[in-house]
Each structure stands twice: as C-alpha cells, then as structure tokens.
C-alpha cells in the first residue's frame, strides 16, 4: 500500500509537468488547429537559457523569471515569423513547418550549449519529505506547476484579455467584429505557451538531466495527456496530464515495468484516438439554430 501511495505521489509530480506541456499544446491547438511538434524542443532550449543565466551567477528565481520572459518573447516571435503565413495552410504544410522548427530548435540547443548531459539545479533541495514519499524537488516542482496552472486558469476565466484570447480562438471572425485584434491574441497565446513550456522544462530538468533531447519523451506523455483529456479542452488536457503521470508510474511499477513507460503513453494515445478521439472531456457544443 505504501508503495502504491509513493507511486501515485510521484505520478502526480511528473503529471504536473505533463499537464503543463499538454496545456501549452492545447492552447496553440485551440487557437490555430495546429499541433506544435516543437513544443518540447522549445522548452528544452528555454531550460538551457535558464542554466546559462544561473551559471552567470544570477540567483535562481531571478533566472527563472527572466527565462520565462525571454521564452515568451521567442514564442511570440515564432508566431509572427513562421506561423502567421501558415494560418490557412493544409495540414501537411503545417506539420512540415513544425517538424522543421523542431529540427532547428533542437540543433540550436546542441549548437549553442553542446550535447553533453548537464545537471540542472533545484531550488527545493532533494531531501525526502513526508516520510520519504516524495522528494523536496518533486514537492516544490509540483507546487510551482500547480500555481502556474491556477494562474493561467484565472487569467483565462477572469480577465478581459483572457476572454479576448478565448474568443479569438473559438470564433476569430466574430472576435474581429467586436474589435479584438485576433493576430495579436495568437501571438500572445504562443508567448504564453512558450513560457509555460519553459517552466515545465526547468522543473523537470533536475530529475532527468539536461540534454538537447530532454523533452522528447515528455512531449509524448503530454500528447497522451492532451488527447486523453480532449485536445480542445485546456482543463481536460491538464487533468489528462496528471492522469497520464499517475498511470505511467503505477503501470511502470506494477504492470509493464519501467522499460516500457513510453509504450504505455503510445497505447494511451492509440486507445483514445481509436475509442474516443474527442477525449474524455472534449466538449461537444450542441447548437440549436
């Protein structure tokens, strides 16, 4: 029983990372109906920026904030330069551009910061907490991501800008007619997604160590989470991310063994896509016209 509790807690801890990345994916999907295959690589690159800042001697939390800000700007720039012309492109073109972006960002990580595996500091320490059920870093990282997720939720629910972003995502034509700058909202969404990804990267790096391919597997879990919850439903994607974390840990410990964790994510993806492509919480709007 204690084993199970331990697995559930570390499942929630890693699930919080998947939830963040899944949220970033869904935000972009909702607004553009594109899947950002480069989301993981962008987060990795951001994490390198953080490490560079920390190595300059900048205190951790200042580096943290700076990294989020820089990532936000990079995300907006990518939207402006690459995605704007792709707005109505066929799926193949958009997939091509995102894969190209993945390759370029991955190469940049290797080019600027080399391919050796690096340690990444944690501000929370690694002492066991709560009688050894969870490490200090796991607890801290989960706390940080929960705060971020809550902040994002409140932003979208209760601010005018958040409402404008949702309106632009749901119905760009009508959004323009009420005076919303839809292009600006998309850029903002990309910035937010990049910022959220950066936080996920900084929180997972102390656990898995930093190298240019760090987020490859995590992106897969995030896909699984996003699909499980519903790829057009941010709340669903977040819950899906947590669920995948717990399933992954329990499954890895008791069913398939740790060597097949990624395959477990693949199985979830295929299962959702075949059984219920809209996801468990994917909303279907009934319109009576």
């Amino acid at each position: 029983m204690e084993g199970v509790l331990h697995q559930v807690l570390s499942g929630i801890a890693s699930g919080s990372i998947y939830a963040s990345v899944a949220l970033a994916l869904v935000m972009i999907y909702q607004a553009t109906h594109h899947v950002n295959f480069a989301q993981g690589e962008m987060a990795t690159f951001s994490t390198y920026i953080a490490l560079t800042l920390i190595n300059f001697g900048i205190p951790y939390w200042i580096a943290f904030v700076l990294t989020v800000a820089v990532s936000f700007v990079i995300g907006m720039a990518i939207e402006r330069v690459l995605m704007r012309p792709m707005m109505d492109a066929p799926v193949l073109s958009s997939v091509g551009v995102f894969v190209g972006l993945l390759l370029i960002v991955n190469a940049c990580s290797g080019w600027f910061f080399d391919y050796t595996i690096k340690q990444f500091p944690t501000p929370f320490g690694n002492n066991p907490m709560w009688g050894g059920y969870i490490s200090g870093h796991e607890l801290g990282a989960t706390g940080v991501t929960l705060v971020v997720l809550l902040a994002v939720y409140l932003f979208f629910r209760h601010t005018k800008l958040g409402l404008g972003m949702r309106a632009a995502a749901y119905n760009p034509v009508s959004a323009r007619l009420v005076g919303i700058n839809v292009g600006g909202m998309l850029a903002l969404g990309w910035g937010l997604a990049a910022g959220i990804g950066a936080i996920a990267g900084m929180m997972i790096a102390p656990v898995v160590f930093l190298d240019p391919n760090m987020m490859g597997g995590i992106l897969l879990y995030a896909f699984a989470g996003a699909l499980l919850g519903g790829i057009d439903n941010p709340l669903g994607a977040v819950l899906g991310g947590f669920a995948v974390g717990v399933i992954e840990n329990l499954g890895g410990a008791y069913i398939v063994g740790t060597e097949l964790k990624l395959t477990l994510a693949l199985v979830i993806i295929v299962a959702v896509v075949v059984v219920k492509p809209s996801g468990l919480l994917g909303r279907s709007v009934q319109s009576r016209v």
């Binding site: 799926v91 190469a107 940049c108 080019w111 490859g216």
Partner: protein, 373 residues
Amino acid sequence: MQNERAMHGATGVKEPLSGGASFASPVSDVVAAESEATPFLPPGDSGSPADLETTARGSLGRGVWVIAAAVVVAAAVPALFFNGYHLFQLTMMVIYAIAILGLALLTGFNGQISLGHGAFYAIGAYTTAILMANWDVPYWATLPVAAVSCGIVGFLIGLPALRLGGLYLALTTFSLSVAIPQLLKYKLVSDWTGGVQGLVLDKPDAPFGLPMSGDQWLYLFTLGVGVVLFILAWNIVHGRVGRAMMAIRDHALAAEAMGINISMLKTRTFAVSAMFTGVAGALSAIAVQFVAPDSFGIFVSIFLFVGLVVGGVASIGGTILGALFVQFVPNLADSVSKAAPGAVYGALLIAVMFLMPEGAGGLILSLWRRVRR
C-alpha cells in the same frame, strides 16, 4: 469554428455569388485532382484535363522512361569505379530512396501523413537482422519476410489510422516512432533483438563467384531491388489504384461517390507503404551490418519526412532527389558542426513549405516541361 462554418453555409445558401469561395472550391478541387493525377505536371499548367492526360501518357511518359533507363545504367556505373565507403554511401542513398518512396505512396499520393515511418524501417531492419543472426537465413531470403511483416504491421496501424484526421495520424505515428527504440530494447524480446547491444551481421559476398567485392555486389543488389520497387510504385500510381488513391487524397467525398472503397484502399496503401519502407530497412541492416535500438529513434522518421518533402511529396522521381539530400547533406554539414545537419534540414523543410510546396522534384519537372515545349 462551428459557428464560422454555419456562417459560410448560410452565405452559400443566401448569396451564391458572394459565397464564391465555397462554390468555386469544389470545381478547382476537381481540376487539381485531374492535374495531379499525373504527378509530373505542375498544377496550374494550362490545357484541359484531357490534354494533360495524353501528354502524361504519351510523350512525357516515354521521355521519363528513357531517362529512367539511363539513370539506372548510369547508377550501375559507380559499382565499377568506387569501392569501400563511397560505394556504401551510394548504397545507403538507394536505400533511403526506397524508404522515402514508401512514404511518398502514403503521404504524397494518398494524403495520409506519417511521421513514424522510421518504425517500419526499424521493423524491416530487425526482421532481417534477427533472421540472419539467429537462424542463419541468407540475406536475400530475409527481404520478403521483412516486407510481409512490415505489410502486416502497416495494415494493423492503418486500421486505426482510418478514423484519424490528418493531424491525429501525424501525432500518433510521431508517438510510435518516439516509442519504438524502447520496444526494441524490451527484455522479453532481447534474446532475439540483442537488447541495447543490438545485433552484428556478416557482410554478404558476391554470389556465383562474380569478380567483385562484397560492397560492389551489395550496391548492385540494392540497386536491383530499388529498380523493381520503383517500377512497381510507378505502375501503382499510374494505374487505376493510383488514381483512386489520389482521388481520396484530393476529395474523399467525391471518391466515395465514385464508388471507391475508401477504408479498404487506405489500409492497403498503408500496408504497401510500410512494405516499401520495411524492405529499405532490411537492406540497411545488411548494408550497415549492424542494428541497435537507438539508431531507430524519431530522427529516422523525421529524416524520411524531410527527404519526402524536399523531393516533392507526390513525385516518384523526387524521392531520389530526397534520398540524395538525406544521404549527402548531413555529411557536408557535419563538417561544420554536429548540430548543422539538423539546422539545415529544418531550415530547408520550412523553406520548401513556404517557397516550393511541390518540392525540388516538382520544380525540376516543371522546368523540364517548359524546356520540352
């Protein structure tokens, strides 16, 4: 989204003229479908569909065959002059061309986007390696087995793929290729696959006492397999089946109305596509004499995709250009930096998407047609 569609729908009903977009598009789709039924014609080329048809079948068709024959003869020549590493590179290029050809059948001609063909490449390679290393099966006899096993897996993956729109399929196949190395390492199969260590194979010698080195023989053997597969693909694409494949890609509803069994054809295309790429993987195992899980990660799939896009997604000849690119650009770029190949691939991929969506193959062929006028 729904709302927007409702708006457009309403426009179409209320004002046929103002709904120009929705009314014109089916027409232009049909034109596009017809012109793309002959993939060597750039869309937007003038002339009626019937006109395009005869050109493709007649003069252009013959011209292409002559060129193809010349290319095959020219391709065999290096076997006489090169040896060792350079010949190995050429062998790999032919292998990539076959792998990309498989992807082209699926993505280019049938419109199903796969970011996971590295998985079939891996399955083909491992089938051959396991048969050769564990049961001493001769290398040539492993190819049909690899083809069949990949065909079966391809068919099975093609089944759920039926229900997936373009993006979901891309996402699922992407996930497949991320997960595949882990599957190959799995301890229950490691007795066969050699686990993390992989399997080492012997290089085949030239048969019948032919006076050539193993490398030279392997190159010619690979080239021979490649020629057979290219002719096969050419016939598929230019036959009735190919027309149906492209009809599904361009206008699924119209294709269904024409009596095409969409799901049957899509799963079969998936199977055939996987067979092609699987045979390429099998050949690569023989040529490299080694398989290991980590050489079949997501990047194999991505490189195949890059090769496909660079050559032109719906162009059989373009796959050779794509293979040339995938094989030799990294070598050139690698001398600059370890990161350079990825950067070059990525930049090129984006550039192609923006500047010439028909790929290099499409570009060259439209130039070729202009010259022939």
